[in-house]
Symmetry: C3
Subunit: 202 residues, 3 copies
């Protein structure tokens, strides 16, 4: 079980970092910008949650292998970045991103529940963890955050996953069952939205 979660975590971190990497290159940033934006996309949401909940040490401080991994990825990938966008299938990134969204959201909600936050606040902390890396990426790249604009189901998937997790916890389900169910709901909803181009009304 914990091996599965760890694999999901690595996939999610890499997918989030890749989306930061691609946007930073589109903005013609240099190596420093590419690393920073990739890093903030991957860890910005969790860092904001930890600041709001007053949790320390931060996730990426405890696991310094992740910043180092992104640093090395940035160094390696920059010379090849013109070819990279073709090489890495956009679809693969989208699905890895959906996994990461599920995992980060549900663990965010879980940490808030551990800190005795009221229910709606737990959901908000989960969604913040899932989406604010991308929000900060877009703010640094001087764009209106995509997640607020496109009408796609994205934050909504995170929202649904967090409620699933919290309601299962409330009904005395085991922690790991609740985690898996929350991730599965978020991931499936996101995958369906990608496949069938579901959109928010608006």
């Amino acid at each position: 079980m914990s091996t599965v979660l760890q694999a999901v975590e690595v996939a999610g971190v890499i997918a989030f970092a890749c989306s930061g990497f691609i946007e930073a290159r589109q903005k013609k940033m240099d190596a420093v910008g590419v690393f920073t934006v990739a890093f903030i996309t991957a860890f910005g949401g969790g860092t904001l949650r930890d600041l709001l909940l007053d949790r320390r040490p931060l996730f990426w401080v405890e696991h310094q292998q992740y910043p180092i991994l992104i640093f090395v990825m940035a160094l390696i990938a920059i010379p090849f970045s013109r070819h990279l966008q073709h090489a890495v299938a956009e679809k693969a990134i989208n699905y890895a991103d959906a996994l990461g969204l599920g995992l980060f959201s549900v663990t965010g909600a879980s940490l808030a529940a551990d800190a005795q936050m009221p229910m709606f606040v737990c959901v908000m902390m989960g969604v913040i963890t899932g989406i604010f890396g991308g929000v900060l990426r877009d703010i640094i790249c001087n764009e209106i955050p995509l997640v607020f604009k496109r009408g796609q189901l994205y934050a909504t998937c995170s929202f649904a996953g967090c409620w699933t997790y919290l309601l299962m916890e409330k009904m005395q389900a085991s922690e790991s069952a609740a985690l898996l169910a929350g991730i599965a709901v978020c991931f499936s909803l996101r995958a369906l939205a990608l496949r069938f181009h579901w959109r928010l009304p608006g």
Copy 2:
């Protein structure tokens, strides 16, 4: 007294949220964006102050009715938003906003004084509480913050209200008299600036 302050608080939160709501709709954001921007406009300033002062729980965590209120407002208001701007008188929002600015600024300064901050820092914390919701709203909407640009008296009113409060406290006035005086100074100055189009020199 505390009932009066609570009514002012509700009016201020709603006015701040409305200004976020309106700007997000102008930027063609979807429901997720509208809720987030309205929420951050209402609570961003206080949250930043609490992070700087290391205060927990955050205001909106203690009072989860406020995020829920904004969530419900966003859901209800979006289908009607084309008509909304006409329905809600801009003037009413401006004056409710001025009340909110006064209350949030003065309570921000008061919390900083409780935390033994030096005087000038207390004023800064008050002004941050009052204006940074709007600053964050504009950053997310990819605009230069209005409060830094328009030359209108806005932050200046907050500044004057905070000094009024702190000086009255220094002169041993009762807490509630100092609070009311600070709010009154901020609100009146803002109302006069709105009425007579007062502007900063420069």
Copy 3:
């Protein structure tokens, strides 16, 4: 020694504040905007570091003379700002900025090391302290951060200075020798990059 460091600190704070001041005026901000942007440019990096490390009181809270200094500078300088850019030699600002970059970066890394952070994280905290004031300045001014874009050696100098400091500490050098060496490496590299227009590849 501590007098030298303090002189460097004052020079750095003023240089950082000036760069905020100049960018805010270019964006036609009013007095409130000019003060806020100058303040955030000078103290944003250190404040973000302190939030991440959970250190209190913040630097500018402990030394309220600095915010007051910037406040007075903003009041005095605004009426003269059309002439200011010619009066203050850009070169002088660049070199004072390089000193500030060195000092802020190395002290940031040092504080992170005191807090038992792992080595790579200490370097990141140092670089964040050095460069994030400018990053926040550019975000508020609605620009893509210059430090991520121009390909100039800037963050890289901070990076090199932090490693110098940390490796000397590791080799049991005295704290003050390590501090001076780190600042010197960062400053010299930056001065050479300015003089010979060195750029990052990519």
